[in-house]
Symmetry: C2
Subunit: 429 residues, 2 copies
């Protein structure tokens, strides 16, 4: 292992020549690999096909609300599905609305309603304000940023630290600026850094003074049960913390079964204060007579309860852990102690966050693409697609088969090394 | 049969006494019947339980797009589902977006996007205009009117005639007023009148000059295949008519399988010009990664094609026709030639529209409710819930078992007769 930053020009050039040779060899294989998407792989999809047996034609289809799940009704979902999510999120089922197949839609719809009508407690619909701003801890999730960009919000980058957003900065900003209406958070096994917010960060978010009367924490708890190890991270309950801090309406918690059962054919929910739930339920009633209750019943019949979900997630972990481990091993073997990169080793979720030396990320992704391996575009993890230091790359190890993953990651490391040397030589455009 | 309007006071009072006696007898039975909702009955729901066998665990789940329906993707739906709806709506599948379980949601979302961003061809997002107005042919569907009321649109009542909206009035209004941005239509077996728009009306809607550059016809073709007889109504294709008239972007056509398979667990679609589809698809991509493709596959595996849907709808008709006939028979037996009411006898759909003498509808619904039979609130079929003549009542015969339907309709007719006599006597408050 060699610290590249301590090599002289001659040593660097020698290393570069060797690496270029390897790169050309790999390039000549005409690879076509995709490392860009946080998608489950086929083996994971197969884990849930037995769910399709439910509800079977001999089912009575009557929910515990006493409603026929085959007919209209229940705009906020069936009682059994509320209870399942309540158990997973450690809240009361009266704090839950169960929707259709997408938690992203529930977030989008919440923001669309905030713009048009205001949220519970809003003095003014957000669209009537001179501007709306959102805090975007970064690196973060591009689809979050895309929504707030679409609605024309000013997005303010806040650094994502090892235990959550930089709370000193967050507290200062929200206390001063009434146009800052919300913050995006993926609090557990965060996308892409993999970190889990500390209890102190959760408490600080719940307690902080906000200039906006209707400030909301968009708490995308997408990976709540998506552990890779037997010693999972623990996340403090934001809704309870907000109730305790006297700010019960601040928390909007979202999750789904997209990466538990089927992406796109799962069920999603929002958990929030009773005021938020009542307000959302009322407005949702104009949009739909109700969500797909049959799919909710299907999920409950199959997963049963939080214990059932936990057992099911262990099966996912058995498939995913070796993939993550392989990425960690290759990164470590090729890049450790070279002083040109750092990366996270999350205990759950779908991503590994990788930082190059400043100014190298775009070049690495481009070089990998030219050899046939697609990574998430550099910059995608920041608002407006602009990583100010051009260093963050999101690695998504779940979809490719393990042999492809090996090839892709070996190429990736070669690219990182080549680009870093060029950077050190002052030869990177 | 007696024309009530030709009876003298003494004769009316004698009739009233007899009717009051019957009413009191019925009231003493403590009925609890619901005639208010356009919901399928249990026998209808049972027709589709075999759909739950699809896709079965041994399916390959690969759509004809080559995509695994269990995983993320295809924001506009799977090719097979597009083809099914294309066949039903007689359009090309490139003109289709298949969504989740609710066509109402797709209409709501279209209006929400129009407000926030504008539609294809809009010069200005609707929310930035001093006002937005919508034409509301009435009687019509309360959930349509509820959406446009929620968004603060001014709703302009246009009379619903026997072959569609009063086009003379429609043409005049849309030509003059650039703030009139749309019209609600249920063009086939309309809710509640049961009429189907004539070819002339469809052509006139397609051709008319509109002051608004982005005028839209919200064409809720909810009952497109919902025939009750072997001589179904034919509806001219609005999208083709709009293309022919040089106004291709004017038509937004919606339908769903809610009353084909399961209400709430069906699949919905929008059909429109390629410009509208591209614009909608792009914005929908911010809201969701895709609809529930598994439920789309489930529907296609079960219904197969338009022919399969037609066969399936015949089974519904066999259940519903006797219910509609019973309502027609009771209305005719009790009210024909009394000169106090008129009603429609639709060849499809879910409703019968009933007009009392002016000023009587609220009183009839109230009286029926006091004897334990709930009808849709009088006025609900008009914008703001206000029927200017207080005469329209929507009768929904599908949900109750046939014996309950008989009791409910007999009571209804008694109430109509009592209220009409009071009206003729000048004794109705």
């Amino acid at each position: 292992m060699t610290d590249y930053t301590r090599l002289d020009e001659k040593e660097l050039r020698k290393e570069l020549d060797q690496l270029n040779e390897i790169y050309d060899q790999i390039k000549s294989q005409n690879l076509k690999l995709d490392m860009s998407r946080g998608k489950p792989c086929s083996e994971q999809l197969a884990l849930s096909v037995d769910m399709l047996k439910y509800p079977d034609p001999t089912d009575n289809f009557i929910t515990s609300d006493g409603v026929d799940a085959r007919n209209y009704g229940l705009v906020d979902g069936i009682a059994e599905a509320k209870e399942l999510f309540a158990e997973i999120l450690e809240v009361d089922s009266k704090n839950i609305i169960v929707g259709n197949n997408s938690s992203l839609s529930m977030m989008y719809d919440t923001i669309a309603r905030a713009m048009q009508f205001g949220l519970y407690g809003s003095k003014t619909p957000w669209s009537k304000l001179p501007k709306v701003k959102f805090l975007c801890p970064s690196p973060g999730y591009d689809r979050h940023f895309a929504i707030t960009e679409l609605f024309g919000f000013e997005m303010i980058v806040v650094d994502m630290l090892k235990d959550g957003p930089d709370m000193e900065k967050v507290e200062k900003l929200v206390a001063e600026d009434p146009f800052i209406k919300g913050i995006w958070c993926i609090p557990k096994y965060s996308n892409p850094t993999g970190i889990t917010f500390s209890d102190e960060v959760v408490d600080a978010l719940a307690k902080m003074k906000t200039a906006a009367e209707d400030f909301r924490i968009f708490w995308d708890n997408a990976y709540v049960v998506h552990h890779l190890t037997d010693t999972p991270d623990r996340l403090k309950n934001l809704l309870s913390a907000c109730y305790e801090a006297g700010n019960p309406d601040r928390a909007l918690i979202f999750t789904s079964t997209s990466k538990i059962t089927f992406p796109g054919a799962g069920i999603a929910c929002m958990a929030a204060s009773e005021n938020n739930i009542a307000h959302t339920k009322k407005l949702t009633g104009f949009r739909t007579i109700g969500p797909d209750k049959m799919n909710q019943l299907r999920h409950v019949r199959f997963l049963k309860n939080a214990k059932g979900v936990e057992e099911h997630m262990k099966k996912h972990a058995r498939i995913l852990k070796p993939k993550f481990d392989q990425v960690f091993n290759i990164l470590s073997a090729q890049l450790k102690d070279k002083n040109i990169a750092e990366w996270t080793e999350p205990k759950g979720g779908y991503f590994i966050s990788f930082n190059t030396m400043p100014g190298c990320a775009k070049a690495v992704v481009k070089m990998a693409a030219e050899a046939g391996v697609v990574f998430t575009p550099a910059g995608a993890t920041f608002p407006y697609g602009k990583d100010p230091l051009d260093r963050n790359i999101r690695i998504a190890p779940t979809l490719p088969p393990i042999n492809e993953l090996k090839t892709a990651m070996e190429l990736f490391c070669i690219c990182v090394r080549i680009v870093s040397i060029k950077k050190l030589l002052g030869e990177l455009n």
